[in-house]
Amino acid sequence: MHTGTADDRMALKAERIRKRFGNGDAAKEVLGGLSVSVGKGEFVSIVGPSGSGKTTLFKIIGGLEPPTEGEVWIGGKKTTGERGHISYVPQQSALLPWRTVAGNIELSLTISGLDRRTAKRETKEWLARIGLGEYADAYPHVLSGGMTQRVSFLRALLAPQPLMLLDEPFGALDALTRLQMQQWLTSIWEESRRSVLLVTHSIEEALYLSDRVIVLSASPAAVLEEFAVPFPRPRREALWTEPAFNAMKQRIYELLRQP
């Protein structure tokens, strides 16, 4: 059935998503009917207060939670409640402690649908490329926080699913590592141009990385405003010193501060 929402150029369309937890008097509406879309090859960020339901939105897009109302379309197909259509970088890296770094990546890739040989080859090649070649056979607990998130990101990047969801991937890192990771991520992304939806609570991070920024209200979450980010790519490291950058940052900050 054609409803008019199917659009092959869109990597993701989440339409009028509403989510209530519990029922009766204890019911709590977390998502208030919001719509979010990501174009093919577009990098979109969501910023919103913590507890506003960003992780819940990801769980709905990923098919872990059914929405109370609304539909999810991925790559032009209706996928509401279906899993396996996305690749995912969770808040904590979620590496299996009993598998080596390479083993972790290979497992996720085969689950995502790659054949074993390709998974092995890609893993090896890319670990070397991001400077972690010598950790391929090490267990995750020897990695630093930044390395762990790089592995977690690589695992999602190599999966064949065209849409990547990143849930505050740098939230647990210290400021300096975080900055390095943002630069690293843009450089890799600018080469690969995957469709990305990133959740963050850092306005600067959203502006620095994205083509578009979506600002959410506190719960029940609704879209307050969307901003197209006009800065040319490749993004320069010194972007955050530009007046235009700071003006946007200020506007988003004001939006989020409203009660």
């Binding site: 872990l64 899993r83 259509h85 995912y88 979620a94 598998r99 090490a138 699913q161």
Partner: protein
């Protein structure tokens, strides 16, 4: 080097304590006027053990066989039952309370029933030992299967991991760590329950040997059997701990190469 020194530092205090206790015991019996019918001296226990060594080893062999069959059978049953209860949730809800209830039936009470049903052979005794062993394993395995890191579970479900893959790749490996704590408990129980099973009717095994010796007023033989039982118990426990170390190498501090 450092490891060896560490080991010695751990071993010598209990070793010295043990030697002192033995000396005290010997002295108490030799000069303290303790009746050797009540408490034979260590030296006479060793002398008696050497005198009846071939018979003692025969009985030990029978006990070891019973204990290993019961331990292996009980562990396998416990492992299988845990997996089954985990994969079929309604069965778990029905069976779990019964399982806990079954542990309140004392082993000594079941023994005559088993003998009644299955006669005097090896089978009823092995079943008895197995019944004692499987419970700690089922409980440990089940709790291991149920509670891997929810972040990991969400991640793997999000990228489309099916129920079986989730079981093989996440839940089962996670449960292995728990399994070993169950196996260690079961190892200690298996020796104990094998001896009790032998008390209840047989003329083979250390349990039977103890009964016959105590009826024949040969306390030094009873003590010799006790020492062998303790040794067996320690040995089986040590084997399980060794298997654990060999199998779980990925844990922090387990000394794998970090480069």
């Amino acid at each position: 080097m450092g490891n060896k020194r560490n080991l010695w530092a751990k071993i010598w205090p209990p070793a010295v304590t043990l030697a002192a206790l033995l000396a005290l015991w010997q002295a108490a019996v030799t000069w303290g006027g303790i009746d050797p019918w009540l408490l034979p001296a260590p030296v006479s226990i060793v002398q008696e053990a050497i005198a009846v060594w071939p018979r003692l080893m025969d009985h030990t062999g029978a006990t070891v066989r019973l204990m290993l069959i019961g331990f292996a059978g009980g562990s396998a049953a416990g492992f299988g039952l845990a997996a089954l209860l985990h994969l079929i949730p309604w069965l778990r809800n029905v069976a779990y309370p019964l399982l806990v209830l079954s542990q309140n039936v004392p082993i000594v009470a079941i023994a005559p029933i088993l003998t009644m049903l299955l006669g005097w052979g090896l089978l009823p005794k092995a079943i008895l030992v197995g019944m004692v062993c499987f419970f700690p394993i089922t409980i440990a395995m089940l709790s291991g299967l149920e509670n891997p890191d929810p972040q990991l579970r969400d991640y793997f479900r999000m990228i489309g991991t099916g129920k079986w893959q989730l079981f093989w790749r996440l839940e089962l490996p996670h449960a292995i760590v728990h399994l070993f704590s169950g196996l260690k408990i079961a190892a200690s129980y298996s020796v104990l329950s094998a001896v009790v099973a032998e008390w209840l009717g047989t003329n083979k095994g250390l349990g039977a040997f103890m009964l016959i010796s105590s009826k024949g007023f040969q306390p030094d033989r009873v003590y010799a059997a006790v020492i062998i039982i303790v040794t067996l118990s320690l040995l089986l426990f040590g084997l399980v701990a060794l298997a654990e170390r060999l199998l779980i190498r990925w844990r922090p501090g387990s000394g794998e190469l970090t480069k």
